[in-house]
């Protein structure tokens, strides 16, 4: 899950003073003068204005030397006409690097400032980050699902295993030759083997993974995008149960031209998807003439943190089979479970049924379970031969860096370490989860039942003035700017019920929790 840092839209708003503004300052009073008075003033002002515009025209259309050399005298008049045409079209706004040459329409939509509260909150929190000693009045970041609880374990492993260098850490002597050259773009087989073992381990060994069905990518973000490119054409759609991770809107749609159709889940079902809702969404899409190519599920889910029960997974499978569509199962939090429920992977369900596996694709990565988002390690696991081949070729645009691959071959192959790490991580997540949720409970804020992830899904509808998205955003704003905590509002996740907020707690230490709760309490009081 990547997030933008310094708000690019701010630098864009510091645009140079447009020549147009200056022009308007002349024209508007001039118009008034022409209409109201005329005569003397007309005689003096209009020439000045004309002179000004003539200067502007000359300045903009002074062509580089070599151009004028290429224009023969006989062509000059037609060229002048050409210049005049372009001047009437010319953009009077800033010159320089926001120039006249156009970017694609795809790019134009991406260049727009981020207006989702998800991104705005992240930006604000990063500008004024809370620090217990240096910035106690800063914004406490509860909007980033990052896990900082277990770095001590990894650092210990590194100090014991790394020797002097990450290069050649596969046991050989320091040699760049082995890792510097072109590697298979879809990842080293050694890493695929180690990853398959790791995935199986975190899923309780209930399922085994075949390295030869794996494509490695620089993060789960490209893994998901590559699958979209393989499974759908522009204009096609995926059904996505809500609430869902805000990043999907960007990651799955930007360049693929694919549509995401929300399938609303309700608190009454603990936000577990129902077949009825799936069916409805599918039929509505069909009526609109939109072709649904697949369902994207997140299991464990983000932002709710619940696990999909076996029965639900089977229902989704049957549905996909019936409609002849794909299933993408994003299981990136599979190793971060802490509740009593068991995690069941989509791959596990397949083992026991006679299903057409070619419609099933998993996404995984090390950004969450192993807390290594910076290293960019993602996995596409597909049972479809053609998708595997296409993904293998497409991942040339998003391959994992070789030194990182070798480091992870070492780390993931150390199964004693990985087992201890996963166990400890789960324990620590549960501890902080329990404290955090209890703290919210004491404020009268209940959370949805969750057994995984780095966050809880809190119901703050009791604190909002109007039971609507507007009311929810008002509360979000208060929490961000008054209480100075950044949480993610449900509307950013397309939640149909207002008032739900995702609160991540794995970047907190236990001492921070009372501070968070106190800040929320203060705001809660103003809402009663």
């Amino acid at each position: 899950m990547t997030r933008p840092r310094t708000p690019d839209h701010q630098t864009e708003s510091q645009a140079r003073k447009p020549a147009g503004a200056t022009a308007m300052r002349l024209i508007v009073p001039l118009q008034g003068v022409v209409q109201g008075r005329g005569g003397l003033i007309l005689g003096s002002l209009i020439p000045c204005a004309l002179f000004y515009f003539f200067q502007l025209y000359l300045k903009r259309h002074r062509s580089p030397k070599s151009d004028s050399n290429n224009i023969s005298p006989s062509q000059s008049s037609s060229n002048l006409a050409g210049l005049q045409r372009s001047s009437s079209r010319s953009n009077l706004s800033s010159r320089g690097s926001i120039g006249r040459v156009q970017v694609s329409s795809r790019a134009s939509s991406i260049a727009k400032p981020n207006d989702s509260p998800y991104y705005i909150g992240l930006d604000k929190a990063s500008e004024d980050p809370y620090d217990r000693f240096y910035n106690p009045n800063g914004i406490i970041q509860l909007g980033l699902s990052e896990n900082r609880l277990c770095f001590d374990l990894i650092e210990k492993w590194l100090s014991e295993n790394l020797n002097d260098s990450v290069i050649g850490s596969n046991g050989g002597e320091l040699s760049i030759t082995g890792i510097a050259g072109y590697q298979p773009f879809d990842g080293l087989m050694e890493l695929k083997v180690a990853m398959a073992g790791f995935m199986s381990q975190i899923m309780g060994r209930a399922v085994s993974f075949d390295p030869s069905l794996m494509v490695l990518t620089s993060g789960a973000t490209p893994a998901l995008e590559i699958l979209c490119f393989c499974l759908a054409d522009p204009g096609n759609a995926f059904l996505v149960p809500t609430p869902y991770y805000p990043g999907f809107d960007r990651d799955m749609r930007w360049r693929t031209g694919v549509e995401l159709i929300p399938v609303h889940c309700r608190s009454a079902d603990n936000f577990i998807i129902s077949l009825t809702a799936l069916d409805q969404a599918f039929n509505q899409a069909r009526k609109r003439g939109v072709k649904v190519r697949g369902i994207l599920i997140s299991n464990p889910s983000n932002p709710v943190g619940n696990l999909l029960p076996r029965e639900t997974l089977n229902n989704i499978l049957d549905f996909a089979q019936e409609k002849n569509i794909h299933i993408i199962s994003d299981e990136i939090f599979a190793g971060s479970t802490y509740g009593n429920e068991e995690f069941v992977s989509m791959a596990e369900i397949l083992d026991s049924e006679g299903i057409d596996k070619s419609r099933i694709h998993l996404v995984y990565g090390l950004s969450k379970d192993l807390s290594l988002p910076g290293f960019r390690v993602g996995v596409i696991y597909s049972f479809n031969e053609s998708v595997f081949v296409a993904a293998k070729r497409l991942t040339r645009f998003s391959a994992i860096s070789a030194p990182t691959q070798w480091l992870l071959v070492s780390m993931l192959s150390d199964t004693r370490f990985t087992r201890a790490y996963i166990e400890t991580s789960k324990k620590r997540i549960r501890e902080i989860h329990d404290l955090f949720v209890a703290g919210l409970n004491q404020l009268g804020i209940r959370s949805a039942m969750s057994s995984a992830g780095f966050y809880c899904w809190a119901d703050m509808s009791g604190l909002i003035l109007s039971y609507s998205e507007k009311g929810e955003l008002e509360l979000w704003d208060k929490l961000l700017n008054v209480a100075k905590i950044n949480v993610t509002p449900g509307s950013a996740c397309h939640c149909i019920e207002p008032g739900w907020f995702r609160c991540c707690f794995t970047t907190l230490s236990q001492e921070d929790i009372p501070i968070v709760m106190e800040r929320i309490r203060k705001v809660a009081e103003t809402c009663k």
């Binding site: 054409d233 645009f397 860096s401």
Partner: protein
């Protein structure tokens, strides 16, 4: 009577998934297959296929290893706790500032300070492959086109077109003027696109050129920039081989041309660079887009989410590339070694009766075998190529895979092997040519 059970139709895939634009079924890849099945090894398989189709730089690894040995702090995170975890968590698409600064400084050094690079304009991508694709997504919509001079790197057909839906319209160059790009060729390509109702959004040049192994002259760069300005289109300059010019004075970067023009019209210019060739680190996946256009920088940065460089790698390389003493020595030594290799292969080929285009950069030479063609056609070229791959056992790249308008040219890489292996290859070519002469003499004397 058998019971026919209607099989449900297989679940459908996208057009991109089933398209052939990846190009891996082209004859070009048959050479790779031949190599993969029977790779040359000095000791274990001395009669195997020698890989001369891979533009990889292996001549300067010892310099990199030397640096890393002396500076172990680069490849670890130090003793303090914060070093590792901050690095492991760092997934900001701006990239590590220290690394961006290092890249900007390295690019300046390659150009010997003749152009300045602002770290704030450096956008990081996992390789130049990703950088070129990203720029294409940003500069053109599906159905629109980029003009690319021929011959060009075969990978462009895939990288610029596959997912983007953008077309390539070739700018035809030929040997009459050493394959240089002319204003006439530029205009002709543009008009060709217009006639087919295809909107041209930019020109993409590679300087130094792949596969020619030659730098583009300053006057030609000026003409191309003027052309782009006249048509109000973009100019992408892929300068991935800029550090592999044999003599530093012979390379002029588009950035130098812009600086001389005080950056007028610079918002249409974008550079691509990478460490895959000059530093010989393609496995590290380090590429960059350097754009003079704010909107392109912003957009490219956001889009780079799909292709970020591992923060571990950024950290590893940041200190190395900022070490000016190291980089200066590296650039100088690497250049010299490549020049020597180039001399070696040119002389070896010449003594076998084969001429090459006069080159001054890159990891390959552009060899002219047109006199050997039975027929001056693509088929003639591929027939000759096939015998070179299967009989002489050298995987070289046929000009047709680079869309060269003249048959008979081949790209031959020389930096991805030891000197001994290169000598073996040259000997095989020598023998091949001698054999041909003997065969011809026999035929002509009958």
């Amino acid at each position: 009577m058998g019971l026919e059970i209607e099989q449900p139709s297989a679940v459908q895939l996208s057009k991109i998934a089933v398209s052939e634009t990846h190009g891996e079924d082209s004859p070009y890849f048959a050479g790779w297959k031949a190599y993969d099945e029977n790779p040359y090894d000095e000791l274990k398989n001395p009669s195997g296929v020698i890989q001369m189709g891979l533009a990889e730089n292996q001549v300067s690894f010892d310099l990199l290893e030397g640096y890393l040995e002396k500076h172990s702090e680069a490849s670890s995170w130090g003793k303090g706790a914060s070093g590792f975890r901050e690095n492991a968590l760092f997934q900001d698409y701006h990239g590590l500032q220290s690394f961006r600064k290092a890249m900007a400084s390295f690019m300046e050094q390659i150009r010997e300070g003749r152009a300045k690079f602002d770290p704030e304009r450096v956008v990081l991508t996992a390789g130049a492959t990703a950088a070129n694709e990203l720029l294409t997504f940003i500069l053109a919509d599906p159905g629109e086109a980029l003009l690319v001079p021929t011959p060009y790197y075969p990978g462009f057909d895939r990288d610029l077109r596959w997912r983007t839906g953008v077309k390539i319209v070739p700018i035809h160059c030929d040997s009459s003027n050493n394959f240089q790009i002319t204003p006439q060729a530029l205009e002709a390509a543009y008009n060709d696109a217009e006639a087919r109702n295809i909107k041209v959004r930019g020109v993409l040049i590679t300087n130094p050129s792949n596969p020619l192994g030659a730098t583009i002259q300053r006057s030609v760069l000026e003409e191309i920039l003027d052309f782009a300005t006249r048509k109000n289109i973009h100019l992408v300059s892929d300068e991935i081989y800029s550090g592999s010019v044999f003599s530093s004075s012979e390379f002029v970067s588009i950035s130098e041309v812009l600086e001389a023009r005080q950056y007028k019209e610079s918002e249409r210019v974008h550079l691509v660079y990478s460490l895959s060739k000059d530093l010989g680190l393609p496995g590290f996946r380090v590429g960059t887009i350097y754009s003079y256009n704010d909107k392109v920088v912003t957009t490219a940065r956001r889009m780079s989410s799909f292709t970020l460089i591992s923060s571990q790698t950024q950290h590893l390389l940041a200190s190395m590339l900022s070490d000016k003493e190291f980089t200066e020595n590296y650039i100088k030594t690497n250049r010299e070694r490549l020049r020597k290799r180039y001399q070696m292969i040119i002389e070896g080929l010449r003594s076998a009766g084969i001429e090459c285009l006069k080159g001054n950069a890159g990891l390959f030479c552009w060899m002219n075998l047109s006199p050997l063609l039975e027929k001056p056609t693509r088929e003639g070229e591929l027939a000759l190529w096939s015998s070179i791959v299967h009989e002489v056992k050298l995987n070289i790249s046929p000009g047709s895979s680079c869309h060269c308008s003249e048959p008979g040219w081949f790209r031959v890489c020389f930096a991805n092997m030891s000197e001994q292996t290169l000598n073996v290859a040259l000997k095989r070519i020598h023998n091949f040519m001698e054999q041909r002469d003997r065969d011809r003499n026999i035929i002509s004397s009958q």
